[in-house]
Symmetry: C2
Subunit: 418 residues, 2 copies
Amino acid sequence: MEAPYIVIIATGSEITAGRSLDTNSGWMANQLFELGWKVKKFIALPDDPELILTELQTLKRFSETRPVLVLMTGGLGPTEDDYTLETVLKLSGKKSYSVEKAKIRLQRIYESRGKQYSDILPTVIRQTHVPEDCKTLDNNVGIAVGFVEPIGVDSYLVCMPGVPSEMKEMFTRRLTPELKRIYPRENLVQKTKWLWNIGESLYQKDFVEANRERLFSEVDWGVTANRGYIKCIFQSTNAEKLEHIVRELENQYPKIISDDVFTYVHEELLAKKLTIAVGESCTGGLLGKKLTETPGSSSYFIGGFLTYSNEMKESLLGVSREILNQYGAVSKETAEAMVKGIFEKTNSDYCISITGIAGPDGGTDTKPVGTVWIGLKTPDGSIESHLYLFPGNREGIRENASNTALFLLYQSLKQRIV
Amino acid sequence: MEAPYIVIIATGSEITAGRSLDTNSGWMANQLFELGWKVKKFIALPDDPELILTELQTLKRFSETRPVLVLMTGGLGPTEDDYTLETVLKLSGKKSYSVEKAKIRLQRIYESRGKQYSDILPTVIRQTHVPEDCKTLDNNVGIAVGFVEPIGVDSYLVCMPGVPSEMKEMFTRRLTPELKRIYPRENLVQKTKWLWNIGESLYQKDFVEANRERLFSEVDWGVTANRGYIKCIFQSTNAEKLEHIVRELENQYPKIISDDVFTYVHEELLAKKLTIAVGESCTGGLLGKKLTETPGSSSYFIGGFLTYSNEMKESLLGVSREILNQYGAVSKETAEAMVKGIFEKTNSDYCISITGIAGPDGGTDTKPVGTVWIGLKTPDGSIESHLYLFPGNREGIRENASNTALFLLYQSLKQRIV
């Protein structure tokens, strides 16, 4: 069978008005990518039954020429502006019926809240309805039932709730097995590596273009730019070819390559029972925030100092006035003195300091906006410091600086093992 | 002139593969809403010139029936998978030329990096190209020039870079005046108010539905849910009606209403020359990060303490072991002792402490996940503390807590004036 032409539709006026961000479509595309399919188009539409119907009619006509898979989220809720069921019934000319299992579940939920069946609003009961003759997708999280409506030869319209937790559970547990059955596909393998402080286009030229013929047959590649690093993604049904590419990438970029540093740092600090503390100037708490994002981080994150002003660098971390006057707050000497101060106050295995110029003001000829010093004290007691000139605006520089600090920590943790 | 049928297109395989989230389209829809226009459709397409061309051809044909405005981002970069210019030239049958001003700017950028004009790759120079006979949109942030290509009667295709900082600057400074000229519109007035720790649907039922007939003729409304607060937006050509609605809203929710607290706090602390310092436990630096997001924050933000562990609460902020043992780290007593400690170490006008359980573990029957104490020391020396039970996951609770801390600061600053 020809690969399906996949379109993802998100409905909701809050999306097209820019009041809320559609995260469902990207999440589904990611899941589909792992199943080996690429999405041809995302569409977002307001809660307007005519616009939705027109779009679905166009896609149904298109399914006369090739297999089409449409995944639609939203519009299955209990409010007056939820139009999905009504629109699909118009599209198909079918009637709907209430799914018995879902009705009983709804009744139980109401009873558990001390309410009766008669209390349930008709628009809430509507959520248990699906078109006749279609595959239903149970909802274990919320009320609305999803469904898979055939729209042509090997072509389907999947309707799911827009609430992310409901959609994700339904997609993973109910839809994925169904999709694997409808569109069987060989297993894909995927590898992701990160490269630090290098541009997308340079990577593409030096690695992808330079090695296209030699390495990239049977292999798909993608790249995502992030703050401080790019994610290089490779995908193939041939696992050996993937291994080969990753080895070549490691050979070409030994000093700037990493795995997911956020995950690695968390797991290594936990596994090795190491502790960490920070001292932040221009990042104002962003590094601490990143280090405490993952549950369980209290096992290794001791604490930190937000020494935004010179006075605080002196009084909290003991950076001497001489150093501040002679070298300035953004200097190797200050970064290293901060690290020493963090260690004295916390006795942590790792201590990281960040001091820099996030801008837009405060830059000079010798220290332009983006200049950042990062200090690192490792468990063996040695202290190092690194100078960077990060691109971007204030937010970008702060993100770059705190991510790069985590990369330095990653490298140090990695060396301890090798 | 009939209102334009507005479609926003985001191109980029990283979007349709789910590797990166399209935030541009929502941002533009928001800007357009403020200009008085609603968007009919978002589309995201992979970097596939055929798919992009087909979509643009369909929209061009559609512009024969009514005015159509297409806003497209992405595909203007320097890599081989940037197809926007090529596709638009195919669509229009035009040729392109290099915009002199942009070429000179590019040359200067290269020279400032010690490189020569001959070093510039052809794909980079391509970014200065636009189709003949169209309005160009200067790029003050990056290299790629944007443009407005006529595609029919009162119909236009706008192409802008996908890098958010470049697109936003170009949209605000270059495109908005152009749009106002092309599609003149009666002046809309807009008011935005924030309500804290209240659900969207409750607000909708208690304020919008309850007052629909009395207050909402000639007025559009919208609501955005955020972490800790909702933004209530009202829009009308009738300024008096807007004033009236806002007064009624203030009457109905006197204790939880605010303006944009981030802006207000920044401006008031600057204007009143007041200083602030923080002590964070469960938020791990997020409050400090938020307080230092705006340039100029070094005038008021002194610094802070990330006292994630009990030991640090003791050693850095002098919270006594008795308090920690008797009341626990998440308690009124600890929050207030932290605030005292921050003041002793920094002498700041305002001191804020946050201590809570961000989860997913660590909750108990009496202190479930989401329990957060926020302490506040005001310039007159008084200390208060507030207990919250925030909903959501770890990230949500941390965002809620730090935003609510800023709301408490807002309220205190507001009282000083009245």
